[in-house]
């Protein structure tokens, strides 16, 4: 049993990559560290358990990263996905620091691998964890344990006492029992509020009931709410999140990566009213996958249906749930509860608009529609070769962007514009400082690692003085 009567130098709330990077960095700098993870050991690691890679700047080929990926390109990618809704100095600082992220993680026992199949062709920009995020989480916890960090599982930080921007102690539930933890510095790495459906309903109403939470069910946003209620400055649009097109039959929580579907570019997608609503072939999927969650969230009933035929089956990764399959469009419509006549007309109109072209699954080809609204700009082939298939889609929410404001020292900013005396933040809970909207694959882990390290370093520096 951990002795909770002592005063720790640093308390970390959270148990994912951002929390562990902060904990390990603070401990290596000589601080005594306690880490409170809400989940039990078997489900530890927050959303990091479901991640796969980290986007890292690099000047030349390094280990598993090919070619180079420099600041301007990284920044340009981020600026485009966020439509400029970002904090440029903070974002650029994060981008520059991401160069050290793989090396730091390797120093914590994380093993990287070359990217192989099914990885959105990210081998140039993203370093892949061998075995994925849970293997990374395992390595970080082993390192943390070896360093003597006190790790508390099944421990939810419920409230932080804050006086004039200074955090004094934490009220926690430790294995079901109330307790307080005393500390000199506090790092909030407890994630977003995406798993708190009630909170989501505030902005989305009943639609929130149809959102699938891709990751950890422990992301309840309790610390986020607690800090924002105590004079911490808020940043980010509360309706913004990272979301993808998930299989509609996935579990409502913790379904993880394998629930995502990448069939959209090779399909047409209709909503419940049997209407197409967005250009399915606008760009290559790695550049569009992150907008489709939100697009579906905005449809009636938060559901959509990707329709294709036997020609498309080999163009995307095999799904976990078998698609609906029928020999005619009308029969398919009946299986998924859509108006058969309407679906036949949508498919016929689409087929009539398809222009001749040379189909290339892996790059922007010249197969497009003419005179169709919305258009399908690439990979448009007639849907005319039975059997026909349908993958039902729902929004899969990865994490919310509403955040506590931080500065370049990862220090939490108070509503009056002054930095907190001893509170820091890293990971999803501060991601909205940089992500105003949109998402870039592997950037969440870059934010978590970079700000985790800064938060740990700054917290240790503070308590040493």
């Amino acid at each position: 049993m951990a002795d909770l009567t002592q005063t720790f130098d640093v308390l970390i709330a959270g148990g994912g990559n951002a929390a562990l990077c902060a904990a390990i960095t603070a401990r290596r700098a000589g601080a005594t560290v306690v880490l409170a993870e809400h989940a039990p050991k078997s489900m530890r690691g927050g959303n990091s358990r479901h991640t796969r890679n980290v986007r890292a700047l690099h000047h030349g080929p390094t280990g598993v990263l090919t070619d180079s990926y420099l600041e301007e390109e990284y920044w340009d990618d981020l600026r485009r996905v966020t439509a400029g809704k970002t904090d440029e100095p903070l974002a650029r600082m994060c981008i520059r620091a991401s160069e050290q992220a793989p090396k730091f993680l390797e120093s914590c026992g994380v093993v990287f691998q070359p990217s192989l199949s099914g990885t959105l062709s990210l081998s140039r920009t993203n370093a892949f964890f061998l075995g994925g995020g849970k293997a990374l989480v395992n390595a970080l916890y082993r390192t943390a344990e070896a360093l003597g960090i006190v790790i508390l599982y099944d421990t939810e930080v419920q409230h932080i006492e804050v006086k004039d921007g200074f955090a004094t102690e934490a009220i926690v539930s430790h294995r079901g029992f109330p307790a307080t933890i005393k500390f000199k510095a506090f790092v909030a790495s407890a994630g977003g509020f995406q798993a708190n459906r009630e909170w989501l309903r505030k902005y989305w109403g009943d639609a929130a009931d149809n959102f699938q939470i891709r990751g950890t069910p422990y992301a309840q946003g309790r610390i986020l709410k607690d800090l924002l209620a105590q004079g911490v400055q808020e940043v980010g649009d509360p309706t913004q999140f990272h979301a993808v097109a998930n299989d509609a039959r996935a579990p409502m929580e913790d379904g993880g990566l394998a629930m995502r579907l990448d069939c959209v570019p090779f399909s047409i997608v209709v909503n419940r009213d049997v209407e197409r609503f967005y250009d399915e072939g606008e760009d290559v999927w790695p550049k569009r996958y992150a907008i489709w969650g939100r697009l579906i969230a905005q449809q009636p009933g938060q559901v959509a249906f990707a329709i294709n035929d036997s020609k498309a089956q080999m163009n995307y990764l095999p799904p976990v749930f078998a698609p609906y399959k029928a020999d005619s469009i009308a029969e398919l419509a009946g299986m998924i509860g859509l108006d058969a006549a309407k679906l036949e007309k949508v498919v016929a109109d689409y087929n009539a608009a398809v222009q001749p072209g040379t189909f290339k699954a892996q790059s922007l080809d010249d197969c497009r529609t003419e005179g169709l609204a919305p258009p399908k700009s690439h990979w448009a082939r007639r849907i005319d070769t039975p059997p026909y298939y349908c993958h039902p889609l729902r929004p899969g929410i990865t994490f919310t962007f509403l955040s506590v404001k931080v500065n370049e020292q990862a220090r939490v900013m108070m509503a009056d514009g002054k930095p907190s005396a001893n509170m820091f933040a890293s990971g999803e809970i501060m991601s909205g400082n940089i992500l105003g909207q949109g998402y870039l694959a592997g950037f969440g882990m870059a934010i978590g690692t970079v700000f985790g390290r800064i938060a740990g370093e700054q917290a240790a520096k503070l308590v040493r003085n």
Partner: protein, 372 residues
Amino acid sequence: MAAESETVAEARRQMEICNACRYCEGYCAVFPAMTMRRSFTEGDLTHLANLCHGCKGCYHACQYAPPHAFGINIPATFAELRQESYAKNAWPAPMGRLFERSGTVVSLLAALGVALALILVVALQDPAVLWSAQRGVGAFFRVIPHWLMITLGVVTFGYAILAMAMGARNYCRSTGSPQGGFDPGPATEAAVDIVTMRNLGGGGHGCNDLDEGFSTRRRWLHQALFGGFMLCFAATCTGTLYHYILGWKSPHAFLSLPVQLGFWGGVLMMIGAAGLAHVKVITDPGPVAKKLAGGEFAILALLFLIAATGLLLLAVRHTGAMGAMLAIHLGLVFAFFLVMPYSKMVHGLYRGIALLRHAREKRTAPAPAAAA
């Protein structure tokens, strides 16, 4: 065609989730082999199960491992599927049922082998050889006549080879694995994979032998057991050559080639068998197929005892204990040959076929279905 077992259905359910996830593609040959497929026949699943070395890396890295509702546990499920494939392809077919009680069968047969050897000695020779010291050329054959030793050896070993060859033929037919034809490229690759056990390397740094930390302990211990076994086999072959070609009769001097091969082989086998059993005892039970434990411990114990009695025989061969020790050792060895086709020992055979098939598929299969 018999109905599919629950294990096959469960393996298919898990592989369909894995094939949509693919986080484990860097670990071992199973996952690249999986990505070459979009659907999984029973033969495919059996092939993948036999390709699996049980390193447990994928279990500890799995976001869907228990207690997640998807309950992905490839090492345990594949271990059970392997066992089913051993039983299904066993020759003669009714003997496949022995796999269900492999631990009991191995133990009983070992005990019977020892008993029979002792009884035969007493019945055929002067019972006094069991406690009186025998020295000089032909000492062993005064305990067990040469003709009998050779007959028992040839019959039991010959039976093992025949039964395992027939099993391999059944396996290749039922799984659609390559039959006949020789291609040096894949054959060399498979041979290197077998000798180096690359797939127990987890991509370089080792596997999850005990828990979520990486280690190469099982790889080294298995190498010791396998290498020791092969050295002992070489010792027997050398001894046979000495006897029939060179006319040099046993017992041979300690520094002679057969004794040296047997000595070091026995030492390695004992280290390997004891070490692997120890790992089995202390490992995280999550990814372990518990119902197979009996058979696995029994065969490790038998291998350990064969090596131990062999070394003891060497130690006491000039004393009155030699007779009894020789009978016990040979009893265990002949029992081992008989039980070999119906024990964990066949894993090497099917693993080898699976590695060969994988090496061939890699050269012919289309590139895996990739995401956009």
